[in-house]
């Protein structure tokens, strides 16, 4: 026989102003098996909890219903209180009289009636509750970081400095990411590479970090604390254990006209190459798609000139397996491609370039060694137009969001140009200036006031070439939309930041969700910004949305601290609200017939197979088995199971049925 206690909370006036809480408590006292029912002003307060604890002891309660706020808010509080009084925490249920009743209705008789019904349902449910114990899962204390830009570098260093192992996987031949391509950084104008490269070297030398470059994630299986990753090491065609990085090979390589990715297409590289002089590791790979030997069958000049004999033309992709306890995704972003701007002539006119290309022009390690020379004829441009929001905040182009970093880097670009070309004139077309951040607005004001950059509020309608000049047509909306035409020598587009190609595929491999722009989705926009919906997988940097370096680094350290917190526990405690396959006496063993449709329906790969064997080891029956570490308790398998052989602990068929019937039979 159940002995149920009902505790109705006023929540100050949040509930009691709308619901007649005393009447609810009185009505509940009359329900079958309810032996104690009270109301109180703040049930979650210390005296409120004491009320529950005392009642459990005095009335020998076997179940507790707290009629208060959302279980999301206080379920742990009340379960803990019950446990302290000796009642299994999972024998306590909450019904939500606040969000589900008082906050959404007026004070009427019906509102109180609804509150009584809500309590009635949970009383019936709790009678079918069973005591449950938390699930303990072991943790592999190694983290996998995917992407070696500044986010991945910072995350790896922070986790490694906590004493945990890190595997950092980078798809390019070198770590560094977009930050290594930048010239100077706002708002201090310090050199990007100068602050980044020491950290790149630190990664390579850290005893806790295993750096795997030129590699991609092939698959990820498992669950928080216990992932199994397969990493595809692409064939480098160079044995890095032998290579000294002397550079003889790329000096002799005859394929010299390959557009350099590092220089955003403004310079060229060879087929055997290191992306940039400060690369980590500073050893070359062969780009098979552009190598004479791989494409035409002969050449091998690099092999001839390689003194240590490190070239390996027969090297193949290799899959390495790793066991990791947590994953941090730091795959970064991309910028929109030329075909996005037919009206600005990008791709058509050589001197219409993206912000990233301007970074390379302004960089001391770039194709012009830091002099601003336009790509078409290498002349120093006398008039430069910068177009902000090129693609961003443009619903017509399908990008509604603000790319966030463009206002700042456009101001920086104009400033760098003015510093380098004293006689030059620069114009910035902008929609709004978004310079929120420490010293950010001051930076933009400096560009306008000290460096005399001409800011024009308005959009550019078209860019076309005429007599060797780029004619930029726009309007100044602060001058009543007066048309403006500028004869420019170069145009720089602050092109929109977009998600990386392949991010959707990666998200599916990782079982994490992503937004409509294919940026990875955080678990909660405010309170869980670095977590994903999949436990044990975290996010940092621009793979979640465009963001600047300080924000990326902050987020990276945040993700690292989440990983470190996870690794600091000896075992992982999980809520036992998971699916279980029923078991019965032999010879039936279970009503499960082993059709395994649940296995294909499970979004978390949590369903495996269990063989029941006799004494001689012969398989009698194969049943579905739910992996306790993987199951998230979503219930998809329960809906699927034709024989109703699967139940969610804490939300069993019986519990749900009695809850619904309590309402229908009333």
């Amino acid at each position: 026989m159940s002995r149920i206690g009902v505790f109705v909370c006023h929540c100050g006036e949040n509930i009691s102003a709308t619901v007649d809480v005393e009447k609810v408590a009185q009505a509940a006292a009359g329900f079958d098996d309810v032996v104690h029912s009270v109301d109180y002003k703040y049930m979650c307060s210390d005296p409120g909890q004491t009320l529950i604890k005392q009642a459990i002891k005095e009335h020998n309660l076997t179940g507790v219903v707290v009629a208060a706020c959302s279980p999301r808010m206080h379920e742990p509080t009340f379960r803990k209180a019950c446990a302290e009084a000796g009642l299994n925490g999972y024998m306590c249920e909450m019904t939500n009289l606040r969000e589900h009743c008082s906050w959404v209705h007026d004070r009427t008789e019906e509102t109180t009636e609804k509150a009584i019904d809500l309590v009635r349902m949970l009383v019936e449910k709790v009678k079918n509750n069973k005591p449950l114990e938390p699930i303990l899962v072991p943790i592999t204390k190694t983290a996998l970081v995917i992407g070696g830009g500044i986010a991945g570098i910072q995350t790896s260093l922070d986790i490694a400095n906590c004493g945990h192992k890190v595997i950092l996987v980078e798809k390019e031949p070198s770590i560094g990411g977009h930050m290594s391509q930048l010239s100077e950084t706002f708002p201090t104008l310090d050199c990007s590479q100068c602050i980044l490269t020491p950290r790149m070297v630190e990664v390579a030398q850290h005893p806790n970090i295993e750096l795997i470059t030129y590699a991609e994630l092939d698959s990820l299986e498992g669950y928080i604390g216990n992932f199994k990753a397969k990493i595809r090491k692409k064939a480098k065609s160079v044995d890095h254990s032998v290579c000294t990085g002397c550079g003889d090979c790329w000096g002799k390589c005859p394929s010299k006209k390959i557009p350099s990715e590092f220089n955003a297409g403004l310079g060229s590289r060879t087929a055997i190459y290191v992306p940039f002089p400060q690369a980590v590791p500073n050893k070359p790979v062969i780009d098979k798609s552009n190598c004479n030997y791989y494409q035409k069958g002969k050449c091998k000049i690099c092999e001839k000139f390689c003194k240590p004999g490190a070239i390996r033309f027969d090297q193949e992709d290799e899959i390495v397996e790793a066991e990791v306890g947590a994953v941090v995704v730091t795959t970064g972003f991309d910028v929109v491609k030329p075909e996005f701007f037919p009206e600005y002539g990008y791709g058509k006119y050589k001197d219409v370039i993206t912000g990233l290309q301007f970074e390379r022009l302004a960089s001391a390690s770039g194709p012009t060694l830091g002099e601003i020379r336009r790509p078409s004829d290498e002349k120093v441009p006398e008039k430069v137009v910068f177009i902000a929001c090129a693609g961003s905040r443009d619903p017509a182009k399908g990008i509604n969001y603000c790319s966030k970093i463009c206002c700042m880097y456009t101001a920086k670009h104009a400033m760098l140009y003015q510093h380098k070309v004293h006689t030059g004139k620069s114009f910035v077309f902008y929609m709004d200036i978004r310079a929120a951040g420490k010293n950010y607005d001051e930076f933009v004001r400096r560009a306008i006031e000290e460096d005399k950059v001409n800011y024009i509020r308005g959009r550019v309608s078209t860019v076309y070439e005429k007599d060797g000049k780029l004619i930029v047509k726009g309007a100044d909306t602060l001058m009543n939309g007066e048309p403006i035409e500028i004869e420019a020598d170069m145009v720089v587009l602050a092109s929109a930041g977009i998600s990386n190609p392949g991010s959707e595929e990666l998200a599916q491999k990782l079982h994490v969700s992503y937004d409509r722009y294919k940026f990875f989705a955080e678990a909660h926009p405010k309170l869980k910004p670095v977590e994903t919906n999949t436990a044990g997988i975290f996010l940092a940097g621009a793979c979640q949305a465009p963001k600047d370096i300080p924000e990326t680094v902050g987020m990276a350290s945040g993700a690292a601290s989440k990983v470190a917190a996870l690794f600091s526990q000896p075992e992982l405690k999980r809520e036992p609200l998971i699916a279980v396959v029923n078991r019965q006496m032999p010879p039936v063993f279970s009503s499960c017939v082993g059709c395994f449709l649940c296995e294909t329906a499970c979004p978390y790969n949590a369903i495996g197979r269990e063989e029941i064997k006799d004494r001689n080891g012969n398989v009698i029956k194969t049943l579905a088995r739910v992996n306790e570490g993987l199951c998230q308790g979503c219930g998809t398998c329960v809906a699927f199971c034709r024989t109703k052989s699967i139940d969610i602990q804490g939300f069993s068929n019986e519990q749900m049925y009695s809850e619904v019937m309590a309402l229908l039979n009333d």
């Binding site: 017939v593 395994f596 449709l597 649940c598 294909t600 329906a601 024989t643 068929n653 009695s658």
Partner: protein
């Protein structure tokens, strides 16, 4: 059919199988299932257009399983059921010998299940044109008309569960209607109970039904309960490009393809 008989006799003689499941003439001039355990009895095997019962239903029955390894006379509907059962892990290739039968009664040799799967590709599992017409008529009814139609159609049902016993896909040891903690589906053969049973049966066959009409053939009241599964099959083909049974794991309802239509989510 002679080839089939010859092969059946060989299999029994060599003890490669213990029982041959096939068709024989019943007492009332209608074919029935035969379970032949002696090579001398193979002459009683028959095959004609009236042999419509889906013999695959016996493969998962405990009484037949205990006889030992079976061979099964398998026209198209049985072949489809075998593949679907295999995809649901209910039969293994090495536990069964399939004696394929062409529509005119000739033996077809199948080396393995993949060969059956390949053979089936040539036979579209479509609802035939006349049935399609009836289904369209039902689909075009107003909600009220359809509700009335089904209530009347199913009123005759007295829940003998012959449809379940005849269906090769209803192999669960304990059917959901017999689950009583809680009792989701009412036991009584009243209007609501009938409706719930038949809707549940159709849903449990979604993406699994092999369109053999065994359920309809078995119904003592001649209820067109296969219309429900056929409507479902029609939807599966039109909305999700379902072409028929395959060996791959999972079924239409439990898996998704990236190009699946999602226009029903609004």
């Amino acid at each position: 059919m002679d080839n089939v008989k010859k092969r059946a006799a060989e299999l029994l003689k060599s003890e490669a199988v213990k029982v041959v499941i096939g068709y024989t003439m019943g007492t009332n001039g209608k074919p029935r299932a035969a379970f032949i355990q002696n090579a001398e009895d193979v002459d009683s095997l028959i095959f004609n257009a009236q042999c419509v019962q889906n013999l695959a239903v016996y493969l998962s029955k405990a009484e037949i399983k205990q006889l030992g390894k079976p061979a099964i006379v398998a026209p198209l509907n049985v072949l489809r059921a075998i593949i679907q059962l295999a995809s649901e892990m209910q039969i293994q290739e090495n536990e069964l010998i399939v004696l394929g039968v062409s529509p005119d009664g000739e033996l077809i040799d199948f080396q393995n299940f993949s060969a059956i799967e390949k053979y089936l590709e040539d036979f579209n599992m479509e609802v035939d044109a006349k049935e399609k017409e009836t289904l369209e008529k039902i689909s075009s009814m107003s909600l009220e008309e359809r509700w009335k139609f089904w209530n009347e159609e199913l009123a005759e049902c007295f829940k003998c569960y012959a449809c379940r016993a005849a269906c090769p896909m209803c192999y669960c040891h304990k059917c959901a209607v017999e689950q009583n903690k809680p009792q989701w589906i009412p036991v009584a053969a009243h209007r609501l109970g009938n409706l719930e049973w038949h809707i549940m049966r159709a849903m449990h066959l979604a993406g699994r039904c092999v369109n053999c009409d065994a359920c309809h053939e078995a119904c003592p009241k001649g209820i067109n309960l296969n219309f429900l599964t056929k409507l479902m099959l029609n939807d599966a083909q039109e909305e999700f490009g379902y072409t028929g049974v395959t060996l791959k794991e999972g079924n239409l309802l439990s898996t998704f393809k990236t190009n699946d239509q999602e226009n029903f989510i609004q």
